[in-house]
């Protein structure tokens, strides 16, 4: 199993451009998450999904959109990129797990710079 995969690994955007960060998991997990990590900080939840067709906002959703049409894929869309969106983006997935653990498995991350 590949686990959670993310593309691209790195990207530089100009202010105002748009892009989609891809996330795919092959563990048949119902739950998927997008986080951002700013330098020297912990992760902040952007959006999450509890199953195909169901998404909801996390702590910092402004400037982002998501969709979940399949169990495997959970793309994150940035519209009108701003320098404040320069960050490392992590996708994660989980299921309810043993005893309801909801243990999350993280992808390798996408490092995004907006200039």
């Amino acid at each position: 199993n590949a686990g959670v995969t993310q593309t691209p690994k790195f990207r530089i955007l100009k202010i105002g451009q748009s892009m989609t960060l891809q996330c795919t998991q092959d563990m048949n997990h119902n739950y998927m998450y997008w986080y951002r990590q700013d330098p020297g900080m912990g992760l902040k939840l952007i959006y999450y999904s509890v199953g195909a067709g169901i998404t909801d906002k996390g702590e910092v959703p402004n400037g982002y959109n998501v969709s979940r049409s399949t169990t495997e894929d959970f793309p994150l869309r940035l519209e009108l990129a701003a320098p404040s969106q320069t960050s490392v983006y992590f996708c994660a997935s989980s299921d309810s797990g043993t005893g309801g653990s909801y243990e999350q498995y993280f992808g390798p991350g996408t490092r995004l710079t907006v200039t």
Binding site: Y31, Y33, G42, L43, F90, Y102
Partner: protein
């Protein structure tokens, strides 16, 4: 608003020494996670603590949870250089969807 605070934020220690990282959180939750992150890498799950009094150990690391005190600890025994990394605790906000609030992280540097 749920806040998760770790201390210390930076810890430099000698090999062979013991130390504890503390994770305090501000509202009721009985589900807490510890992760490790190496520089430039992703997060690796270390421990999942699901109830008051839970204790888990893996090698030189031991984690515990006191939900009444809203406190988790990560204890390092006889540190070795390979444990150098940043450690995050995270608390489940929702109880059944895995919406996590992360602490700021504790960067551990173990010197030979």
């Amino acid at each position: 608003e749920l806040k998760v605070e770790q201390n210390p934020l930076f810890l430099s220690m000698q090999e062979g020494k013991n130390y504890t990282i503390y994770c305090n959180y501000s509202t009721t939750s009985d589900r807490l996670y510890w992760y490790r992150q190496d520089p430039g890498k992703s997060l690796e799950s270390l421990f999942v603590l699901l109830s008051n009094g839970a204790v888990k150990q893996e090698g030189r690391l031991m984690a515990s949870l006191d939900t009444k005190a809203r406190l988790s600890t990560l204890h390092i025994t006889a540190a070795v250089h390979d444990l150098s990394a940043t450690y995050f605790c995270a608390v489940d906000l929702s109880g059944n969807t895995g919406k996590l609030i992360f602490g700021q992280g504790t960067t551990l540097q173990v010197k030979p």
